[in-house]
């Protein structure tokens, strides 16, 4: 070694002190340099050794902003006729100046420790019942959260005393006296102090109060104070993450007695759908998704590992819900608009589902606004083999379009129908991969995916199997094609099975040929109703139970649904288009009797009509009433 020889030489040189000292110094310098060199070489080598394995996107992960230690938040809240905004520490967290929307009371919930927005809602308290929704929401918010209120346009017309009292209990002085077109802002802590309130009275009925701007400061608390002290388990870690981010989910974030997020329903014996992937199609309705996933995870035979939630857009809150339940979620960057966007989202989701589960022969397709029946998987487990074996089947669906409270009776009964109901259904992979995916409507075609699937070019005469009593329940009120009125009229009174472990009756008879035999048997046994009576009247069907009745309606050719539509309307069932038919035959229940409707002469079952019976013909109403509005109004009357 170099150092060693140097040292020996230096000893020999001790007789010549000055030279020796110099030499020693040189040795020292050489030594130091050597050390530095070795060190650098070592460092370089290590760097190099891992280089191949470095992520190419090294600089993508920008470290997050360090959590600011600031103890005080500056909050600005603005209320006026045409614009509201809320800014927290200079960042706008709400801004709404769009015309003709966003009317009412806007509510923002902030985390009292971090200042993050946990929920944003607007309640149109100009309209009825919205104040009840607001009360419900405010009651769900955890104590200690910071609440910010501001009115846009009008927020008092249907703001009832209950709601006013809740606002008062939050510390608002003005709320009880809030009146027509007043402007109002309020910031306070739930169950705690008030940070500020401003109000501008409307001087006259025809004018609005002056805009108000409230500027105030909010003192933040420590993170520990803002969180519940649940035992440290994997589940509670998920819960904690969720509850510190979002608000408005009620007891799931309750400190004392949180509702479970794991359900462990009974497993199904001989579960034929345990390995079938479940695709949940979702948008940005996290509260719906929450309700939907709860019911799905509570269904017997559910396999959480097979569930994937597909979110249409980069929305955070639905993803938070998915993670709360420990499921896997996928976000889809939206392309296209409205219906076409939903349709593209469906396609992307189905393609991804079969990619993620390449072994799967089927996929269950669900939507975020469905409740799932406790025996949903049991129903599928008993019937799915038909989809595999019977080429004449298009799908199995959990939804009966005509299965209302007053028209569905038998949880063990299945039908074959020519329409595709959707709302919880099973898709065969080969159908998707070989037929649907390659020609799925492109984004510029603004088609509904379900309408497209119902078109004869796609359906090719194949049928779907449905239960008499639906295994899903459509609870969505706010949606693309949905509003409260429509929902009341067509969905609210839908029958939904709540009985576990229903043993399905005679599944074999659902095969193509067997079903014809079954129908002929039924028609043979059916009693022909009195065709001189009005079929809309209750008395049309005798007061019996468990009998089979048949009626004949006029149906000139396969696509003539004139009488059927009128009959559906007066029976208060789905009448917006034709659903639930099988070769000109409809099956439903009236007064607990099986009730068959045959279209004559288009239906092949017309031969069962006694020659004396004249098929009933019902005329459509005159058009001048405004054709589009008629069905919705008529159907709404039932509720």
């Amino acid at each position: 070694m170099e150092g060693k020889t140097c040292a020996e030489a230096s000893r020999r040189l001790s007789q010549h002190p000055t030279g020796a000292v110099l030499f020693l110094l040189v040795t020292v310098i050489v030594n130091i340099k050597l050390i530095l060199d070795t060190r650098r070489a070592a460092y370089e080598e290590e760097e190099e050794s891992a280089q191949d394995y470095d992520d190419e996107l090294l600089n993508v992960e920008v470290p997050r902003h360090p959590v600011s230690n600031k103890k005080v938040l500056d909050v600005e809240v603005y209320s006026s006729r045409s614009k509201v905004y809320v800014a927290v520490d200079g960042t706008t967290v709400l801004e709404d100046e769009a015309r003709e929307q966003g009317r009412g009371i806007h509510v923002i919930v902030l985390n009292q420790a971090t200042g993050h927005v946990m929920a944003k809602r607007v309640f149109d308290t100009y309209s009825p019942h919205e104040d009840e929704a607001m009360v419900l929401f405010l009651n769900m918010v955890a104590r200690g959260r910071i609440l910010i209120f501001t009115i846009k346009d009008e927020g008092s017309f249907h703001l009832k005393d209950t709601a006013k009292n809740v606002l008062k209990s939050l510390g608002s002085q003005v709320a009880p006296f809030l009146s027509w077109r007043d402007m109002w802002t309020f910031v306070g802590k739930k169950g705690g102090e008030v940070y500020g309130e401003k109000h501008a009275k409307s001087p006259a009925l025809s004018t609005w109060g002056d805009p108000v701007l409230l500027k105030t400061e909010v003192h933040l608390t420590s993170v520990e104070d803002a969180e519940c002290h649940w035992p440290d388990t994997e589940l509670n870690r998920r819960r904690r993450r969720f509850c510190s981010k979002v608000e408005g989910y009620g007891s799931v974030c309750s400190c004392k007695d949180p509702t479970p997020i794991e359900f462990n329903p009974d497993p199904l014996k001989d579960n034929k759908v345990f390995d079938v992937p479940v695709a949940v199609i979702a948008g940005n309705r996290p509260n719906y998704l929450y309700r939907m996933l709860r019911s799905l995870l509570s269904a017997q035979g559910v396999n959480p590992r097979m569930i994937t939630v597909f979110i249409d857009g980069y929305y955070e809150e639905p993803m938070d819900v998915v993670e709360l339940f420990g499921l896997s979620g996928i976000q889809h960057t939206p392309i296209s608009i409205k219906n076409a966007r939903v349709s593209q989202h469906y396609k992307a989701s189905l393609t991804a589902t079969f990619n993620l589960f390449p072994d799967a022969k089927f996929a269950v397709v669900l939507e975020e606004d469905l409740d799932i029946s406790v025996d949903f998987f049991s129903f599928l487990s008993q019937s799915i083999y038909l989809l595999e074996e019977d080429e004449s089947l298009y799908c199995i669906s959990a939804w009966n379009d005509q299965g209302y409270e007053h028209t569905a009776e038998d949880p063990s009964l299945l039908y074959r129908v020519e329409t595709m109901p959707g709302l919880g259904w099973v898709l065969r992979k080969s159908l998707y991969k070989d037929e649907l995916e390659p020609k799925w409507p492109t984004p510029e075609k603004l088609w509904d995916w379900d309408m497209w699937m119902r078109m004869p070019e796609q359906r090719k005469g194949r049928e779907c199997i449905i239960p008499d009593i639906s295994r899903s329940y459509h609870f969505g009120i706010v949606g693309l094609n949905m509003n409260g009125y429509f929902h009341e009229a067509y969905f609210k009174k839908h029958k939904f099975n709540t009985v576990p472990n229903v043993q399905l009756k005679n599944v074999e008879s659902l095969r193509k040929d067997a079903y014809e035999t079954e129908i002929h048997r039924l028609l043979g046994e059916a009693e022909v109703l009195d065709h001189s009576k009005n079929p809309c009247e209750d008395s049309f069907v005798p007061d019996t139970e468990g009998k089979v009745y048949v009626m004949f309606i006029k149906m000139e050719q396969e696509a003539d649904f004139t009488t059927w539509t009128q009959l559906a309307k007066c029976l208060h069932i789905w009448d917006l288009d034709v659903r639930g038919n099988h070769k000109g035959l409809w099956r439903l229940f009236r007064k607990k009797n099986h009730f068959l409707v045959v279209g004559v002469p288009a239906s092949p079952y017309s031969s069962k009509k006694p020659s004396s019976v004249v098929p009933i013909y019902m005329e459509p109403p005159a058009k001048e009433e405004g054709a589009a509005a008629v069905p919705a109004v008529a159907a709404a009357e039932q509720t």
């Binding site: 050390i35 070795t38 290590e46 992520d55 994997e234 979620g329 992307a348 991804a352």
Partner: protein, 461 residues
């Protein structure tokens, strides 16, 4: 006085020099040790101790994963290589104690295991148990390639690799995912910024430099060195597979950009052609795989994969390449048996061989045979009416796996060079009028077949 002082100073300096010397020595040692991985000393001094450490770590790991019901199998090339030599004996041997530690004690830095993602439920608690047992661990996540496609999807990242380190040995656990096309895929190992680059000598890992594609292996439960363990039933074929397992993902982002510029043809004809081309490709792959003939996507089919991740709807045929050394005489009868009659045969095995089979509904399957030279690879073409020969030159390439229309197939790893050789620098621009004799940028005139050979080298059915 002065002399004493001088001596004292000298002594002091000598001492400090000596100290430096010792320090330097110590530093150098530690550097050497570090270079080989602090815990992976190559020093053979305590061989027996080191050897049994490896065995112990493997045993501990196996007990860790079995306590969490995680089914793993051994894919370590070093050990499987040794096992393969004694495979008959291992298969037949019963559970009796083995006299010596023959496999798991051999010197190495890692032992590699595979885990099938779908056979595994949750990792909850696994790492806590691992830590309690003394393991240090590292998890490598990345995005899920199964979500790549024409749609812009993003999901939670999936685990691709785990490394468990204990004492002087580490276990590399590679996660395999099932993908469309009935094969297994493992991801590349890429470290994120915050990760410890010195956790293990990553360069020495056997898996992870590239993503890889494998057949689903049949497994065998055996007892090796007193450890019960699953191994691929046929270790040698697994090891063979491993040497050319590199996988390329389709370039979906570029394909999306392509379709932005040139919107896809969604006509009924295009949909129908793609469907037929897909089923023809599936049939061809099945036939050739059964014969054990290695093939790859060539010409227009390769361009379709590379440029748009799909069949080019106006391409009219499916093109495959095969190295002439892999040629088998049974190829023609096998295709005929599969329902694809021979349409024409040009050239001969020694020169410019090209086969064409008639698929259903007018879709043709072209198989070009490739001839390797020192610095390039070429295939031939023949004009039937004139007997003219053409030669298409390609730079040398190797084969990689990819997924195309739900099929695991080969493509040239150096795809860009391959496509550019064939279609020139403007390959990104769709060309509908294509003349195989003049359009390719790598075509060379190659003389004329002698007339007396025509009957043999130009066969049309």
């Amino acid at each position: 006085m002065q002399k004493i002082n001088k001596n004292a100073v000298l002594a002091l300096l000598s001492l400090s020099s000596l100290l430096f010397l010792l320090f330097q020595l110590a530093y150098y040692r530690s550097y050497l040790a570090h270079k080989n991985g602090a815990a992976f000393s190559k020093v053979r001094g305590s061989q027996s101790g080191q050897d049994s450490t490896r065995w112990h770590v493997v045993r501990k790991f196996l007990s860790l994963i079995s306590s969490h019901n995680i089914p793993v199998y051994l894919i370590d090339p070093l050990i499987l290589g040794l096992v393969d030599k004694d495979i008959e004996q291992i298969r037949s041997s019963s559970d009796g104690p083995s006299p010596e530690c023959k496999y798991f004690c051999v010197p190495r830095d890692f032992t590699t295991f595979a885990l099938l993602d779908k056979t595994w439920k949750h990792e909850v608690g696994l790492f806590r148990t691992a830590e309690k047992m003394g393991f240090q661990w590292l998890k490598v996540l990345n995005k899920d390639p199964r979500l790549d496609g024409m749609d812009d999807l993003s999901g939670t990242e999936i685990p691709l690799h785990y490394i468990f380190k204990l004492a002087s040995h580490a276990i590399h656990l590679v996660v395999f995912y099932e993908r469309s096309g009935n094969y297994l895929w493992h991801g590349p190992l890429r470290l994120k910024q915050h990760m410890d680059r010195k956790f293990v000598p990553f360069r020495k890992l056997h898996f992870g430099r590239y993503p890889g594609a494998y057949e689903k292996p049949e497994l065998l439960l055996v007892s090796i060195d007193d450890l019960k363990i699953q191994i691929p039933k046929n270790p040698s074929s697994f090891l063979e597979e491993m040497t050319h397992s590199r996988f390329l993902e389709c370039r979906y982002r570029e394909a999306r950009a392509f379709f932005q510029l040139y919107p896809d043809d969604a006509s009924v004809d295009a949909v129908e052609f793609r469907k037929r081309a897909k089923s023809l490709l599936h049939l061809a792959a099945l036939t050739l795989n059964n014969l054990g003939v290695k093939f790859w996507l060539s010409s227009g089919t390769c361009l379709g994969w590379y440029r748009q991740c799909n069949v080019i709807p106006y391409s009219k045929d499916v093109d495959l390449g095969i190295f002439i050394r892999d040629y088998k005489a049974d190829i023609i009868p096998a295709f005929q048996k599969a329902g694809l009659p021979l349409k024409h045969k040009f050239g001969k095995v020694e020169d410019s061989l090209e086969l064409s089979f008639q698929g259903e509904d007018d879709v043709k399957l072209d198989i070009f045979f490739f001839y390797e030279e020192d610095d390039h690879i070429w295939n031939g073409g023949t004009q039937a009416k004139s007997g003219k020969k053409f030669k298409y030159l390609f730079p040398k390439f190797t084969l990689c796996w990819t997924e195309f229309v739900e099929l695991k197939v080969h493509v040239p790893c150096e795809t860009l060079q391959y496509v550019e050789a064939n279609y020139g620098p403007d390959w990104k621009v769709p060309v509908k009028m294509w003349d195989w004799k003049s359009s390719p940028s790598n075509v060379q005139y190659n003389g004329v077949w002698p007339v007396d050979e025509w009957d043999d080298v130009i066969q049309i059915y």
